[in-house]
Subunit: 111 residues, 2 copies
DNA sequence: CGGTACGCTACATTATTTGTAGCAATGCGC
DNA sequence: GCGCATTGCTACAAATAATGTAGCGTACCG
């Protein structure tokens, strides 16, 4: 039955067809390196190159693509001269993320 | 003929070598459809086919691959006759996830 | 038995990622 | 000015992953 129209609130965010924001967010964050980028920006701004290195030397192509998506999503911004940093909204995302960090610790101790 | 390697049925979870669990988790969840699958299983078990449909009709290839990864990660299990469901650990993940759901609502109302 | 649903796989086509190289623009010491 | 380093960002071929469709083998139910 899901045959709804796209009307993406964002460019080509997969899964946004339902109109439920969580779907758009899950799709955005479910792209390779996106979560990691947000995570690496949690403390301080990073230049695109520093970010690349922090992200296990991912290729600049993907990093740039993800940064564009994150900027469009209003989660990240480019500061003249200081590289990229999370916007206030991005910092909210980061905070919503902390429980996952704690979960990761528990998860790593699984049998 | 590339038969899946038995020891690591897929490449090692990226970042797991750093010893930082969050990296392994971010990598696991940052693969296409993984977040969505966990999300769709939040309420009730689903058969692999129902899950496929719930996930915007993603191809069975990826769904099966992700389910294997999630089972290996101890987050999802296959019930004889009832399809897939979150393990207790998977439910913990889901709960760690709820703040993100609330964030998605705020995010969708951004300017 | 026939029909249906399950988990799962094959495989060719298509899309995305990787890795390497490089560009134009800015800044800094000289 | 000049050379040199660093920035954000792009090109592009090769490698890898996802898609879409079909189908297998195994159950279950009539």
């Amino acid at each position: 039955m899901p045959k709804p129209d796209v009307a993406t609130n964002q460019r080509a965010v997969r899964g946004s067809r339902t109109g439920r924001p969580i779907m758009a967010l899950l799709d955005l964050l479910g792209r390779r390196w996106t979560l990691r980028i947000v995570w690496e920006l949690r403390d301080a701004p990073l230049t695109s190159r520093a970010l690349r290195i922090a992200c296990d030397d991912a290729s600049p192509t993907v990093i740039q693509a993800r940064l564009s998506e994150l900027r469009e999503a209003g989660l990240v911004e480019l500061l003249a001269g200081d590289g990229y940093r999370l916007t206030p909204l991005g910092r909210e995302l980061m905070e919503s993320f902390l429980p996952l960090h704690r979960f990761a610790e528990r998860w790593s101790r699984r049998g």
